[in-house]
Symmetry: C2
Subunit: 372 residues, 2 copies
Amino acid sequence: MTLSFTLQKTHGMARAGVVHTAHGDIPTPVFMPVGTAATVKGMTVEMLESTGAPIILSNTYHLMLRPGAERVEKLGGLHTLMRWKKPILTDSGGFQVMSLGDLRKITEDGVTFKSHLDGTPYHLTPERSMDIQHKLDATITMAFDECTAYPATHEQAKASMERSMRWAARSRGAFVKREGYGLFGIQQGSMYEDLRHASTAALTDIGFDGYAIGGLAVGEGQDMMFSVLDYAAPALPVDRPRYLMGVGKPSDIVGAVARGVDMFDCVIPTRSGRFARAYVPGGELNLRNACHTDDPRPLQEDSDCPASQYSRAYLHHLVKADEMLGAMLLTWHNVHYYQTLTRGLRQAIMEGTLEDFIAAFEERQAKGPKSP
Amino acid sequence: MTLSFTLQKTHGMARAGVVHTAHGDIPTPVFMPVGTAATVKGMTVEMLESTGAPIILSNTYHLMLRPGAERVEKLGGLHTLMRWKKPILTDSGGFQVMSLGDLRKITEDGVTFKSHLDGTPYHLTPERSMDIQHKLDATITMAFDECTAYPATHEQAKASMERSMRWAARSRGAFVKREGYGLFGIQQGSMYEDLRHASTAALTDIGFDGYAIGGLAVGEGQDMMFSVLDYAAPALPVDRPRYLMGVGKPSDIVGAVARGVDMFDCVIPTRSGRFARAYVPGGELNLRNACHTDDPRPLQEDSDCPASQYSRAYLHHLVKADEMLGAMLLTWHNVHYYQTLTRGLRQAIMEGTLEDFIAAFEERQAKGPKSP
C-alpha cells in the first residue's frame, strides 16, 4: 500500500485530514519548510522538530548536482543523511530546471541543462526524475512536469499542460511503489479553467496518491490565484491530499485552505529569516530597522518558540552585527509561526470555527504588525 | 559575599573545584566558550546548554561599541539579553584595545582608541571598564590590564606589568561588590619568572576573588607557555580559581590543567567550526577535504552531542554548499568536544587517575585524528 489519506473533517471547502506515510503521519493543513540542499537553511533538526513541522521538502535539482543522487543513496538516503526521520517530499527538478532560461533546452523527451554550479550538462526526464527521487528516498515523489510560464496564451498553456500530462503518465510508469511512499501528480493549465479541468481529468485518469496544483504563485497576484483555486482545488479528488506548490505568505495560506488546499511549501519563512524579517501576528517586521534598537519586548510574546522570546533589541543587535544567530533565530521563529498558523487552521476546521479564525486573522492583519 | 571557590581535590599540581556564583556553580577545570558580541557564534542557547558549558565569556570591547553598555543595562543585562541564565565572565576590554595598534594611545590614565566599526573615539580606564562590566551584569569581572606585547625585554615587561598592577588596584577600588559576583586580577610579567612573582605579590596584596594568568598564548609556543606555567600557576593562591586567558588547543588545556590551571577560554573551537574544522580524538579534521566526500562514518561516534552523529559526507556536503548548518554543527560539536575534555580532566582528578587520562590523550594524539 502506498501512502494513504484520511479526510477527517470539512468546513465549507476547507479540509482537515491526515496523510499516513512510511515515515509517520502528516496532519493537514500542513506547511512544509524548504530544505533545498538537504538542510533547512540555518536550522538544526532539533530546532525544526521543536516547531512541530511534520514534513519537510527538499529539491531534486540541487541534490542531483550536489552531492548527487547516487551518493545520497549510498549514504542511506535523505532521511539518514539529514538525520530527519519524518516524511520528506521532493520536487521533481522541473521547476528549477525551467527557470534556468538559456541554460536549458526542452524536448518531448525531457530537459537538457547545464549545472549552475560548474556548467556540467545534465538530461532530466520523467524517468530520471523518478529514479533520482527514489534514490533520495523521498516519502512523497512529485511527477516531472513543466511549470507553465506566466503569462501564457491559451494555446501555450494548453500545449505545456498536455506535455506535462504525458510526462505525468511516464512518471507514473517509472515510479517504483513502496509501502507508505507515494507519487503526486501536478495539475497545470495556467489561469484557464477549461485547461485546469482537462489537466485534472488527465491526472485522475492516470491515478496518483495525491494531487498538486502547479503553475500558481508565479506573479499572477493573490486575487487571481484565489480565483483559479476556486475551481482548481475542488476539482481534485476529495479522497486525496491537495498540495499548492510554492505558496506562500500567511494570507495566501489562509485563503487557500479556505478553498480546499491541504499542503503548502515556500521559501518565504526561511528566506525572510535570513533577511532579518519576522512574521508576527498582523504582518512582517524588519528587525534591521532602527526602531527596534531599544525595544525590550519579545519578538512575539504569545509564542511557545524559544526564538520568539528574545527581545527585538537583541535581534536587531544580532542583525546589525551580522551574527549568524540573528538569521538562525528569525528563521526558527518564522518556521514556528507558519506551523502555528497551519495548526490553528486545522484546529478551527476540526472545531467548525474557521470563519472566526479567518475573521480574527484578517482583523489582525488590518491592524499591522506593530500594534500591541 | 562575593563569589567563592571550593577546592575539592588535587592531584599533583592539578586541581578540581567549584566556583560558586550568583548564577550557579562552575565545576572546574572548565572551558568557557567565547560569545564575543553577546552570542557564541552559530549556537543557540539550547545548543550551548546541551554541551554542558557552565559559563561563557563575552567581550567588553565589542559590547561597549555595539550595542553599548548603557543599552545592555537598560535591556536587563547580558543574561537577560542573551537568555543565558548561567554565569558570564567578561574580559576588561584591554586585550582587544591593545591590539588596535595605530588606532589606540596608552597613557597612565588608560587607553584612548577609535572604534574599528565607525572610528568613534573612546576612552577606556580601569574605572570605566569596571563600570561597563557592571552594566553588562558580568558574573565575573576582569581587572583592566595591559596584555604585554611579545617578545618584550625585561625592562618593557616590568614597566608594562607594573602599570597593570596600578590599574588592578584602581579596578579593585572601582568594582562594586555584589553577592555571588566577583573580580579577578590578572598576573602579567611576560616570560620572566621574577616579574610573574612580583605581579602575583602585587595582586594578592590587593586581593581578588580569582586570579588570571595573562600575557600567554601570544606566540611564545606551547613549550615556553608550559615552562612559564610551571612557576606562574602554583604561585597563585590555592584557595582561589586560576584562569589562563585565551588558551587554547586541547593539548594546551591538558598541559595547563596538569600545571594547576582551573579555567580557560579560547575562540578556537568556535572559529574552527566556522572554518570547517572539527576536533576529534587524536586531533583535527578539515571537513572541506575531498577525502570526506563519501565517508558515511559519524564525525565522532563516541560522542553524545547530536552534531557529532552526522556523517562526515554530510558535513562535507554542507561545507561545500556553503550552508550555515555546516558551521553550526561543527561549532556545536567542537564546543561539546571541549566540554567533554574538561569534564574528563575533572573526573580524572577527582578519581586520582590523571596520569592515565593524560597518557591516553597523548597516545591518541600521536595516532592522529584519522585512525579508527
